[in-house]
Amino acid sequence: MSHVSPYTKVRGGRRAAVGNVGRPPVGWALPGILFFAVFAIVPLAIAVYLSFCHWDGLNSPTPVGVDNWTRLFKDPEFRQAAWLSLLLTTVSWAFQTPVALLLGVWAAGRQRSRTFLSAVFFIPLLLSTTAIAMLFHALLDPNFGVIKQIGPWFGIDPNLMGSSTGALLTVAFVGGWQFMPFHTLIYQGGARQIPEVLYQAAAIDGAGMLRQFFHITLPQLRNTITTSSVLMIVGSLTYFDTVLIMTKGGPGTDTTILPYLMYRTGFQTYDLGYAAAIATALVIVATGLSLILVRFSGFGSMRSTREGM
């Protein structure tokens, strides 16, 4: 923990323990912890409890042991939904990251049109997911939507949402379209943190734009990529409204991802115990994935990208 800026030391009238600089005592976190406990931990605990019960939502829940969980592991529909969720997450990540990263790095610069264009790019994030899903649903209507006219130019079958791959890709695209501005913003912030001296030094050494990007920008954005990826992955795992409005899990069950399966089981079938098991499984998967990601990217050790400067 050598990350102590000289500036703080000079200012330090009050003595702060090394490694605790600028970090308030735990008491300050109490409101946050309390809020989190009431609105996240308690409901989560209830959901976990319910996953060991049978509950139709009318009578009181009756404990059934591990029934829901054994059923979960045998349920082909759950397996398919889990697979589709992972697929959707991967596709979303692979589609959003490069675009958001490039846009973000570009938006961190000083071009004349930057402010205006950044504002334009930001618009999708301001719209509600429901509105976006309905908008795209109308655009993609195979008989009266824009896709009917424009699709064939690009070799796209207007029956996009009626085909298995098409429906899944559409969901990934619409979600990506909405959340890319958010990730662009994260990358923009990250890119702006990169000290200019690095680029100046590289320029003196004769490195061109591309080399600068691959040898300075990308490595310096390491932690930003992790942050954005974790958010993206957790976000795609919980995609719901888009599926509900655009495909209703169809055609057949080809876009029935985990959250939608949970909704169907819980609020259409009223099998709330089993739905709670699905929800809990989803929490486990999402937490596991983000932990793995954090571990592999070295974010866990909290090394600063500015180390050694």
């Binding site: 207007p158 009626g162 495909t247 169809g250 055609p251 259409q268």
Partner: protein, 414 residues
Amino acid sequence: MVMAGLLAGCGSGSDSGGGATLTAYVYGDDAVKIQEAAVKEFNKTSDVKVKLVSVPGTDYVNKLRSAMGSPSAPDIFYNWGGGSIKPYVDAKQVVDLTSTIKNDPTLKDGFLPSIVAAGSLDGKMYGIPMRGMQPVMLFYNKTLFAEHRLQPPKTWEDMQKAITTFKGKDITPFALGGSDKWPELMWMEYLLDRIGGPEVFRRIQGGDSSGWGDPAVLKSAQAVKELVDGGAFGKNFNSVDYGNGGAPTLLNKGKAAMHLMGSWEYSTQLGKAPEFAKKDLGWTAFPTVAGGVGDAADVVGNPTNYWSVNTRTKHKDEAIAFLKTMAATSYSKALVDNGDIPTTANAASMLDSSPNPQFAHDQYTMVQNAPSFTLSWDQALESQIATPLLTEISKLFAGKSTPAQFVAAMKAVK
């Protein structure tokens, strides 16, 4: 009554009016204004006032479900009869109205018998009809049929001929909102009725899941596959909705020739394409199927909606008194004026004041003469079966499962 009045005196401190109230949940759509008027009329003379809570349509089922499990449950609630109230009946939350109906001449003779029967469960009546009837009918574009010198299909052969003709002219034979799933279910309902008769589904509704193994179910599923493969619904019905107007627009723009849909299709078309609805929209019964044992006069759909009473209500007598007003002539008249066809026995005499008397009379006669009126399967069955059913139907139509797989999957649902 005095007793109820006394009871009403206490325990109602929170009500602004001071008197006791009965809360009634209703499905919030355009027809609510008729129930509002009925409530207003009832409250004029009753000490216990009815308070109508209009719940937006898409939220209704969930809201009712969570409210019924809570202390603030409604006293009276709107439902679809059959399986839609089974969980509440099982939880002993619905008042058995069988003897009330049998002992009250107004209620006993007030409604069409097939309607009251369709909403009952295990022979017991839990609901009083309170809205219009909604049989599923075959709608068609009159101009397209005239242009191609076709008659609305009465038999399976007629239908095949129409399919071939329209396909040859690049017109989708049947509009279908496959993305919504329930429009696909309507096909299955009618096919099974025509092929195996209404008893097959009655067995399933009675809780016998082996009923799905009846050969008629397999035959119906095969007929569906035949229609899908033969292009009867066009190529892209999987991404067409009913809800956002996709399928109705196909019909009124002449891109599709026919549409199997609930009777509300008429008002939908009237809203979207008034000219078309008035001049070109035709309707007929579902055709017979060769070799089928079902009666061609049988009807499927939503017989009507019902009011049921919560067993926990403090004012049961007043609640029933309110339900009786549903049989009143003035109430039926209000329904007719709104374009609905009441399910009361005397409705026929009022239908001339309907916005479209011909459509109203045809519909009423169709239901009145129907030997059987099968409640839409997704309402007739409990949600544990209805939800997987809609999924399996969607898979069958999308070609993701074979008719045999459909049967096997449904037999396995418990």
